[in-house]
Symmetry: C2
Subunit: 220 residues, 2 copies
């Protein structure tokens, strides 16, 4: 198994994520959208990844990631998330600044480097956005989590992750005072538009939109 190119690794990651960790079949168009490229380019890449047995590809029927592909994708994801931890914990980046840099760093090839980085960081289990970091064997466990939008009125929780990792969204959370680890209590829910009122850490009263409520994940 020859080394994968950056492009191949990016496609594999996209297929993995879109397939919900390899469960579902993924459509050409959804990959094209996720990767901001054209469907024709995706078809081409799927053919090549299929030849390398990284995916199971049936023309017009969608694609499924293979075990081999899953293993590869999980190692790239592991690297991405470890580098994100490094950037935030060691280099003092904000959580909204790390994604693009990690997109580059995730492609550095050196198993020893990642092992040492993991040691250096103290074997973190989650990245700065609350996403789980797979171990060397691709194993990880997610914290049980629910979108704030689905919490009942007067329900308590702790913010454990964000669904959207877009920079604008994260900056908005910073501004209103939502962060990983914050304690939340839903004090009011508005049926009409899905917005809600919550109490953060027992003292900050916040009104949040449906979009925010759907993208903040709390323990359950």
């Amino acid at each position: 198994m020859k080394k994968l190119s950056f492009a191949e690794e990016n496609y594999l990651k996209a297929v993995y994520h879109l397939s919900n960790a390899g469960e579902l079949d993924v459509s050409t168009n959804s990959i094209a959208e996720e990767m901001d490229t054209k469907a024709a380019s995706v078809s081409d890449m799927l053919r090549r990844l299929s030849e390398k047995e990284m995916v199971v590809y049936r023309k017009y029927q969608g694609v499924k990631i293979s075990e081999k592909g899953k293993t590869a994708a999980l190692q790239v994801i592991r690297k991405h998330r470890l580098w994100e931890v490094f950037l935030v914990e060691k280099l003092k980046f904000n959580w909204d600044q790390v994604h693009e840099i990690a997109e580059q760093l995730e492609h550095i090839k050196s198993p020893l480097l990642i092992q040492r980085l993991d040691d250096f960081l103290g074997h973190p289990k989650f990245d700065p956005h609350g996403d789980p970091i797979p171990d060397e064997n691709g194993l990880f466990k997610e914290k049980p989590q629910v979108p704030l939008a689905e919490v009942e009125i007067s329900g308590d929780g702790i913010v454990v992750a964000v669904k959207d990792t877009n920079s604008m969204f994260l900056q908005h959370l910073d501004r209103i005072g939502i962060y990983l680890g914050a304690k939340t209590k839903v004090t009011e829910k508005v049926e009409f538009d899905g917005s809600m009122e919550i109490l953060v850490d027992g003292k900050n009263k916040l009104f949040i939109s449906k979009e925010v409520a759907e993208n903040v994940l709390v323990t359950h």
Copy 2:
């Protein structure tokens, strides 16, 4: 000025190094040898780098790096050496293990990342092989240095750098006990084969070959 590709950055670095920091003209063949590629590929790349005004290229006459090219090359070198420091100081790599990984890391594009990394490392002025680290403006100063081979008998020095950064050579230095910062005194010189006897840190008597003596650089 659009972003340079990895290949372009590697070529620029090679031209810079071979030209003795941009002084001399560089031949196509020397670049091909340095980069372990074919002369035809070099000609092609020189034409492209020339169009981007990173080098001044006169067919059949060799190439010279431009000011623009020098600036770019120095930033890649800066990144390479900062990452090497990181790998040795923070991730506990040995100085013979860092070059290949830094060859990859040097191409990560993010000025902020490098600034933060530099801060994190405490603004080191030299890399693990004693090579100077250019600052954001490409400025650096080299320690005055001489190959051990050129030191007179009974001459003292401190090891400040190595010329060769090949893994085998560095491991050999580890084995015999030569390291950056070691105090040296030349106790005997053999005309016949260029080998010499030295005293390290006033206590270790060592016999070293001409190859070693030429590649260990000491203060003068």
